[in-house]
Amino acid sequence: MRPTDVHPELAQYGSCTLDRDGCVTCGDVAVPVVVLEVYEQEALCEDRAGNRARIALDFVPEVRPGDLLLVHLGVALARIEGGA
């Protein structure tokens, strides 16, 4: 398995990963991730390459493990269809 195959369903939302997210000032190519664990206002998330990071959930309510999120600069901007 190639590293980018950890979550192949994320690839349809752009090619960016948490460690290679294109131009951060633009952010119009944000990073799709899968939610692994949810804390109070943060979630541990994993991108398609297997990179993990804690993501702020202030702008996306009621996040659950298995949800797919679109993330920019460590902050979730949208929940995307296809998750749990």
Binding site: Y13, D28, H72, L77, A78, G82
Partner: protein
Amino acid sequence: MRYVDELRDPRLIRSVAAEIARLADPDRHYRIMEVCGGHTHAIYRHGLTELLPPNIELVHGPGCPVCVLPMGRIDDGLAIADQPGVIFTAFGDMMRVPGRNGTPLEHQARGADVRMVYSPLDALKLAQANPEKHVVFFAIGFETTAPSTALTLQRAKALGVRNFSVFCNHVLIVPAIRAILDSPDMRLDGFIGPGHVSTVIGCRPYLFVARDYGKPLVVSGFEPLDILQSILMILRQLAEGRAEVENQYRRVVPWDGNPAALRAMAAVFELRPYFEWRGLGFISQSALKIAPAYAEWDAEARFAVPGIRVTDPKAAQCGEVLKGVLKPPQCKLFGRECTPEHPIGALMVSSEGACAAYYHYVHRLATAGRSDRCARQQPV
């Protein structure tokens, strides 16, 4: 659930390309602007121009915040960076953008404490870890980036972190689209709308494009099939005499955007009366400043910002490229004096810049023996 294989399926892509060719009126020349730099990169990376009929021209828009920031604002930021006791933080993309007296990296080499951060939240953590210093974050970006800055300022206020401030350069995409539509030297038939900006602002802010200017706008995803399907949706509207805002990227973009992010932005920012855009000049109500309730965290209120205005290098034609009047290789400096290794204009510095995209995906192939239709297109 759709997988990326489907969005890059050659059979599906050929089918959509064939439908585009069937719908395109051979007696008409179509000019469609992709507003977002991410789309520009995807178009070149996947060679999508090769799949379109020769009378469909894709025009690169102003959707790169680094590219549209005038050099004077970089000098203003670096004037703050040179102050004693300041840690000046910026995104990696900004570190090589030249001001009049060098880049942030060069200021760092001369002794300024300039540091790269991934997120404004990281800059806030740096302030908490360095209470004897004042940390300034160089905020830049469209509506995808502004919510993170807003959240950071809300947290700074809630936590009482007072050795932190933001030099705010956030700009808004909708006034830029309006300025392009009002530009007398621009003739466009439709727009491929930004993908992830629209997750925040939704689709409603674009309605004026169809209502007031009679142009179709289709919010698009970033995969090859997304972009081709968006072009097809624009052509269908034109063929049927319609002008509407449509959402091709419904799997991500809600029609009403992200209300929580919009509320945070409304609480922290207010509109500037006007702001200068490189290549587009001054555009009214096109940028954000920090609201009075957060003035304590506003670097422009805290430091004496000189308000420098700098004319771009005369030979560089960044403005014409930003407005879509010229293609990157039609600039006199492109690929010669101005390259990604030695950029003169911001469009070559930023990885989202049209010139950098063209250089990486077309120019290098062309110089290796391949031709490209874009390189032969004439200025309008």
